[in-house]
């Protein structure tokens, strides 16, 4: 009896004390440090220049946006506590949280939002202006930002999230070149030191609107070394968080690290330019489509972590169109027949596959097309981005990490000026009308999923893109870091704790 009482007393005293030594203790003591090495280390820290590619995840440490997405990919409040459309759907008003400020002391208000949108639309080196075509103008009214649209567009809350509108301090952004070196935002962390292309040190931002749910005190973000050495760095404690290649997953697991796949919208594709021979012949395009065995990409490149895809969305996502599944399944005999019908003998078609760096995908494409009689020469062009985005290439590879707005994903791939449409200004017939219907349909409407899938179907008629497989967002982390929110395509540090700091 006495022993039981003593045990109870000890438990009463020790349990709170011991639990205080865990994760919260590390966070509370100011030593919870995230050591993140990333293969997507930002080349630019001005979000307008950085664009909406994979690097937005790192920039989101510094910058917050009007909205963010939840675990279902749906827009939820961030700097804006709420928003509403007018009845017609061509104007949206965002209501910002009161009392917020950027890390340089400037207020987060409607004027800051207006400045951010205006800069994204007008700055000469903006990578975002093509995403903001629905926005006509912005009025700043205290803590409200009233956005007037060029068309009815219910995608705006999805669009103005972390991918497209990370908001910088207007004072700092007055000199975009300086902002690129000294980022100033209202996000969860503040930059204390930045070595371009190499390393950035950050500390927790006590004025972040959700600071109470940020339990990381410091962040050391570094550019990832060679993929083969990242796991060693994780093992020795140089890093405690890293995105890794699938071929490193086994080594990471053996090293006692936690390996997981963060959900995402990744989709790799083969890009064809139908404005150039031989892809100006539909039969050649179809022959290439039937020659591609998607399963080989998954088997050889993802080590069981990826999956085949013939769309720019993962299966199960609201925009994924089951009716378009397997429209062009692997059929090399049919491919050879189409080439013969087009008047091409085996070996007669010779193509240059231009890519920015060595990529096993290219070697798979080369061998699969060789099997149907198309000779492919792989050419590595370190300056690949210039001819690709100028639509000068005939044949290339690309991979997207997706967008938070499904409509943005579709227009980026299939729209006449879509950056990922190598065949601009071509767009598949019916796509323009289908995407307009998506914009005109409120996100909460019961018809929205069907309208969106119809647009996906219309886009997939494009002859310019062959989707192949989905590369996983594979991450290895120390077990001292708690699980991340499963926010698709994002890396969200809300609620994440780090215990037992080194």
């Amino acid at each position: 009896m006495r022993a039981a009482a003593l045990g109870t007393a000890l438990l009463t005293v020790l349990v709170p004390a011991l639990s205080a030594c865990g994760g919260d203790a590390a966070a509370g003591s100011g030593n919870a440090t995230l050591k993140w090495t990333s293969s997507y280390f930002p080349t630019h820290w001005d979000p307008v220049v950085g664009g909406s590619g994979a690097q937005f995840r790192e920039l989101a440490l510094v910058y917050a946006s009007l909205t963010r997405t939840d675990e279902n990919g749906k827009a939820v409040p961030d700097l804006a506590k709420s928003w509403e459309y007018n009845v017609k759907g061509d104007r949206i008003t965002f209501h910002l949280r009161p009392g917020l400020k950027f890390s340089d002391g400037e207020p987060v208000d409607g004027a800051a939002v207006k400045a951010a949108i205006d800069r994204a639309k007008k700055q000469q080196n903006s990578a975002l202006f093509g995403d903001l075509t629905s926005i006509k103008s912005v009025d700043a009214e205290g803590l409200d930002a009233v956005i007037h649209l060029t068309q009815v567009d219910y995608q705006i809350p999805q669009l103005l999230g972390e991918r497209v509108l990370q908001i910088a301090s207007p004072k700092a952004a007055a000199s975009p070149a300086e902002l690129d070196q000294n980022p100033v935002g209202a996000g969860p962390f503040i930059v204390t030191q930045l070595i371009p292309g190499t390393k950035v040190l950050l500390k927790k931002n006590p004025d972040y609107w959700d600071a109470k749910n940020i339990h990381i005190d410091n962040v050391e973000l570094t550019s990832a070394p060679d993929a083969a050495t990242v796991v060693n760095g994780l093992q020795t404690g140089v890093y405690n968080f890293a995105d890794i290649e699938p071929n490193q997953a086994q080594a990471a697991k053996k090293a006692g690290l936690e390996v997981f796949v963060q959900p995402g919208f990744n989709a790799s594709n083969i890009s064809l330019n139908i404005n150039k021979a031989p892809f100006d012949d539909d039969k050649v395009v179809d022959a290439v489509r039937y020659a591609i065995n998607r399963k080989e990409f998954v088997d050889k490149l993802t080590f069981g972590y990826g999956e085949v895809t013939d769309q720019p969305f993962p299966k199960g996502y609201v925009a994924y169109d089951p009716k378009s599944e397997n429209d062009y399944s692997y059929d090399p005999a049919k491919s050879r027949k189409l080439l013969a019908e087009a008047g091409h003998k085996s070996g007669q078609i010779k193509l240059d596959l231009v890519i920015p760096a060595e990529d096993p995908q290219a070697e798979i494409v080369q061998s699969q097309l060789a099997a149907v009689g198309i000779t492919v020469t792989i050419k590595i062009d370190k300056n690949w981005a210039t001819p690709f985005f100028a639509k000068d290439l005939t044949f290339s590879l690309y991979g997207t990490t997706g967008r938070d707005s499904a409509a943005q994903t579709l227009t980026a791939h299939f729209g006449p000026n879509g950056p990922l449409n190598l065949s601009s200004p071509y767009e598949p017939s019916g796509f323009e009308a289908a995407i307009a219907r998506v914009r005109q349909t409120p996100l909460g409407s019961p018809a929205y999923p069907q309208v969106l899938r119809a647009a996906t179907r219309a886009g997939l008629r494009s002859k310019a893109l062959i989707f192949t497989y989905s590369q996983p967002n594979l991450i290895a982390k120390s077990k001292s870091i708690s699980g991340l929110p499963k926010n698709p395509a994002h890396i969200d540090w809300t609620g994440v704790t780090i215990s037992g700091t080194r």
Partner: protein, 295 residues
């Protein structure tokens, strides 16, 4: 000179290894048991009867890729050595005879090339000229050229001041004739040493560049490229980098060994060394009795 090199055991080993490497370069692609570019579903397989060195990440036969890649790897390093020889030794010899302006310009150029960060310069030039093995090796050859410039200039300076050369010039011999008749034979031994050494250095450079994806376009195999791709799959095939790494190491070692042997047998001292070895080999039973007493 080759005959003299073969007198030394180290020379014989170096020549034997380099002969095998040369045969690999010539006939390697023909010896490959399978198509080195043919992919299969049998990826990252261990060594077996059908794949002696296993398969790579795309299911290609590693032995076939090593054999096929030997030609590019060896030719690349030869291109480096020959480019460096031509670009370096010709102005090195001429700098002694073509006046102070030419001497000053070539010396400054050589200093500049030595000061350039090698890999950065190679990457920059390849970005300008396009990514190809010929461009990469030409750039590398030019960067290595100062070695030949200095070696050939030093040897020429020594010969140019000798009385018989001065006498030839005074008797009306042309500079070209003097260089061909008197200078070249004296410059050749140190240049041969530098050439053998540069072959080894060139091999490391070719391997480094292809390791970085510079110079050779995929899926063409090279030993350096194979090593680079194997490192990505260490947890699956920890033994895989051994074969290309050993080939690179042995070839570089043989190049350096040959350079040492050439140095040992060149000049009067070398001739004496070879002669003494020959004498010992020819009269094995007439060796002198061991000396008695202390040294």
């Amino acid at each position: 000179m080759l005959r003299r090199v073969l007198v030394l055991p180290s020379g014989r080993i170096a020549v034997a290894i380099l002969a095998v490497i040369a045969l690999l370069a010539l006939f390697g692609p023909l010896l490959a048991p399978q198509n080195p570019l043919a992919t299969s579903d049998n990826t990252l397989a261990s060594a077996s009867g059908s794949h002696w060195l296993g398969t790579d990440y795309l299911g290609r036969d590693v032995l076939s890729r090593l054999l096929d890649g030997s030609r590019l790897s060896v030719l690349g390093s030869l291109e480096v050595a020959v480019t460096a020889l031509v670009v370096g030794s010709v102005p090195g010899i001429l700098s002694v005879y073509l006046g102070r302006a030419f001497e000053w310009i070539t010396l400054r150029l050589a200093d500049t090339l030595v000061a350039l960060p090698f890999l950065l310069f190679a990457v920059a030039v390849i970005a300008l000229l396009g990514n190809g093995i010929t461009q990469a090796m030409l750039v590398t050859g030019v960067l290595v050229a100062p070695l030949f410039y200095r070696v050939s200039r030093a040897a020429t300076l020594a010969v140019a001041r000798s009385q018989y050369v001065e006498a030839a010039l005074l008797s009306g011999a042309s500079i070209g004739w003097v260089v061909r008749r008197h200078v070249w034979v004296k410059v050749l031994p140190p240049i041969a040493v530098a050439l053998a050494q540069t072959f080894g250095v060139g091999f490391v450079i070719v391997s480094s560049l292809t390791f970085l994806g510079i110079g050779v376009q995929p899926p063409a195999p090279t030993w350096g490229g194979l090593l680079a791709s194997d490192l990505g799959y260490l947890s699956h095939q920890p033994w895989a980098p051994l074969a290309p790494a050993l080939l690179i190491m042995i070839t570089v070692w043989a190049g350096n060994l040959l350079a040492d042997a050439l140095r040992d047998v060149s000049g009067e001292a070398g001739r004496a060394l070879v002669n003494s070895r020959k004498t010992r080999t020819d009269r094995p039973d007439q060796s002198e009795p061991a000396p008695t007493g202390g040294a």
